[in-house]
């Protein structure tokens, strides 16, 4: 009897240990959690649409701006001159059109059919039409000059915070070259890089609990999308268009990590988020 009790007690504890141990194993290996999560945000890169010297920088680094706030101003003297030229061209073409019209209409009104041939009259009419087209062309150029002049003032495209501002008064900026970036307000979200072994347990709409590195507060959110693809370096090719296939070990392989985007529920005021911060993510299983 004593022997049976001894064996039974030990086996009971061992059985519980097997169950508990397999639970711990599954918890770590197969429940949808990751420590490889990052805070992200929508970043707008701002480039001027015209080239020139920067005459005024109206914002500071990390400053909050509203949509339409001026960011910086580009020297507009050249664009003023181009605008004035285009305006003068319009006036010139306007006069040319008036002249051509006047010539045509005065010939048209002649009662004596001998005074002008049909062919000459047609030439005057065509001259008038072409003067009309040249006026339209000059107007379009004026409009372009006006747009350029307007765009010497660069404004914020959305509400946000200015980042990476190294622009100084006097710098020369080129059209289309980014000079600063803006993080859109309230556009923060989280991307979790889940191992492919856990990906089948991730569903869109699943609720997520996240903790920032070094913080105890829990952020809440919802899975909004799972990336449909990641780069496969084996598909890149060399100069001869042959695939660059990587060597791999046969006995060990690393799980790929797939980005999963998570929308954040409203974050408490006292928690500061910066894009790029590390978060740990736990998805609640249904």
């Amino acid at each position: 009897m004593g022997k049976l009790l001894r064996v039974g007690l030990t086996l009971l504890v061992v059985t519980i240990a097997v169950v508990a141990g397999s639970w711990v194993w599954n918890h770590y290996l197969y429940s949808p959690w990751t420590r490889d999560g990052r805070i992200r945000a929508d970043v707008i890169t701002i480039a001027p649409d015209v080239s020139g010297w920067v005459t005024q920088v109206s914002v500071k680094n990390n400053q909050a701006v509203n949509q339409g706030d001026p960011l910086f101003t580009i020297d507009d003297t050249r664009y003023q001159a181009v605008f004035a030229e285009a305006r003068a061209k319009v006036a010139e073409q306007h006069s040319a059109l008036e002249l051509a019209r006047h010539r045509y209409q005065s010939r048209q009104g002649l009662s004596d059919p001998q005074a002008i041939t049909e062919q000459d009259l047609e030439t005057y009419r065509i001259n008038m039409e072409s003067a009309k087209a040249r006026l339209e062309l000059a107007r379009a150029k004026l409009e372009m000059a006006r747009i350029d002049l307007e765009r010497t003032q660069v404004v914020a495209p959305a509400d946000g915070i200015i980042s990476n501002l190294y622009l100084r008064q006097g710098n020369y900026v080129n059209r289309g070259t980014t000079v600063l970036s803006e993080l859109k307000t309230d556009s923060f979200y989280v991307t979790g890089y889940f191992e492919e072994t856990k990906l089948q347990m991730v569903q869109v709409g699943q609720s997520a609990r996240m903790t920032l590195m070094g913080g105890d507060r829990t952020l809440k959110g919802t899975v909004i999308s799972i990336a449909p693809g990641i780069a496969d370096i084996n598909t890149s090719s060399n100069a001869q268009m042959l695939p660059q296939v990587q060597q791999a070990f046969n006995w060990v392989r690393l799980a790929q990590r797939i980005p999963v985007d998570i929308a954040l529920d409203p974050v408490p005021e006292d928690i500061h988020l910066s894009a790029g911060m590390t978060v740990s993510i736990n998805l609640d299983s249904e």
């Binding site: 001894r6 007690l9 061992v14 240990a17 508990a20 105890d216 740990s280 736990n282």
Partner: protein, 66 residues
């Protein structure tokens, strides 16, 4: 809830703390059973000790492991 341990900017798995906790608990259990002279009721002592450690670990992971 115990999360990753930040130490000098590096993150460590909470298991780094949870495993020693379980180990200490199972050592205490072993010592207590020895003092109370209950170890004679155990059939295979090594099996029992390992099993106790795994049980403690599971309980601790459940309670603190998030």
């Amino acid at each position: 809830m115990l999360h990753e341990l930040g130490f000098g900017g590096m993150l460590f798995s909470p298991l780094l703390v949870l495993v020693p906790m379980a180990f200490i608990l199972s050592a205490v259990t072993r010592l207590a059973l020895h003092r109370l002279d209950l170890r004679r009721h155990i059939w295979k002592e090594a099996w029992f000790d390992v099993a106790a450690f795994v049980c403690y670990l599971a309980i601790i992971v459940y309670l603190f492991g998030g």
